[in-house]
């Protein structure tokens, strides 16, 4: 008998056979259960896109955004979206009228010492971008989505331009830093942070800007 090499006994052969069977069984289980490496899930499905849109919609319909997306000839204000005081009207360019412009009170940034919000080029969204009806009722998710994606109404913005608008537009940015009310308290914020809002917009655009079915 040579040293260093021991002929397998019957028990050893039985152990090896069992080990191979177990490994084979493991591979079979892996194959059956799909227990393989999954890369991070990309927003590729319509369902993903619709879920992202609902997040975007939750921001667009928050008072910090929608009070200037009216269907009427006046802006709203406050969390209850009441008609803007002092008989403020839209005017031909959405910036008020000659002696009562938005800029009559709203400056280039928030005036926290006096409670007046402000941002660059403060103005109403054009009527084509209305997200409410004439009774100040907020439009449905499907209706707002349709309006936002209609290039004849949205300022001829494609997906990239919509993303840029949500990312950079000063008045969009203002909604996430709306400053203090006249009583010194902070104005309420949209339900997402700006970063989350932009991420949701990006995901919605990556999936082809899907819109919910009109009810």
């Amino acid at each position: 008998m040579m040293l260093g090499h021991v002929a397998p006994s019957g028990a050893t052969r039985k152990f090896s056979t069992m080990r191979y069977c177990k490994i084979a069984l493991l591979f079979a289980l892996v194959a059956l259960t799909g227990c393989t490496y999954n890369p991070p899930k990309m927003a590729t499905t319509r369902a993903d896109g619709l879920a992202a849109w609902q997040q975007v919609y939750s921001v667009l319909t928050h008072p910090r955004c929608i009070t200037c997306h009216t269907a009427t000839d006046y802006p709203q204000q406050g969390d209850n979206r009441h008609r803007h005081f002092a008989n403020v009207v839209r005017g031909t360019e959405g910036k008020g009228v000659p002696a009562l412009q938005c800029a009559t009170c709203h400056q280039g940034s928030n005036a926290d010492s006096t409670g007046v919000p402000g941002g660059h080029d403060w103005h109403l969204a054009p009527l084509s971008m209305e997200w409410q009806d004439l009774n100040d009722k907020i439009l449905s998710s499907a209706e707002v989505c349709k309006a936002v994606t209609d290039r004849s109404k949205n300022g001829n913005r494609d997906g990239a331009a919509l993303l840029k608008h949500h990312t950079e537009e000063p008045l969009v940015l203002w909604a996430f830093q709306p400053g203090r009310r006249i009583d010194g308290s902070m104005r309420t914020l949209p339900p997402l942070t700006h970063e989350e809002f932009v991420a949701a917009t990006r995901k919605w655009i990556e999936t082809g800007t899907p819109c919910p079915q009109t009810p």
């Binding site: 002092a86 403020v88 000659p98 002696a99 009562l100 009559t104 009170c105 400056q107 005036a111």
Partner: protein
Amino acid sequence: METYNIIVNGLAKRVSVDPGTPLLWVLREELKMTGTKYGCGIAACGACTVHLGGVATRSCVVPISLLGSRPIVTIEAMADDPVGRAVQDEWVSLDVVQCGYCQSGQIMSAVALLKSVPKPTDKEIEESMGGNLCRCATYVRIRQAIKSASQRLKT
């Protein structure tokens, strides 16, 4: 406290105030220009209206820190302004004023309107002047005076 260099009625002024101080109080308290009135302090009445960079502005809600380089024009300069002069003359001619407290703001808004719309309609007057309140309810005479000033400026 911060120091600000501002232009009021064409003159350079230097004031040292808290950055949150409304323009109204800079005019009245620091510069002793009391023609501009305090009415409500929340931009709801229009008594404090001045022109900021040519725009009718509620001075009670604009902190001095947000003025930038925009020139300020107040009621004190209206007599030397052609449109302002015409409006003031018609105000006197039609005896618009009752108590008079709101009238400097009314005139500043009326001048801003006429400089933008030389011949305003009733609707344009109502919309532009809608934020200027008058407890004496001189609105009918205000409207007539604006129309008369418009006519005077055309001739």
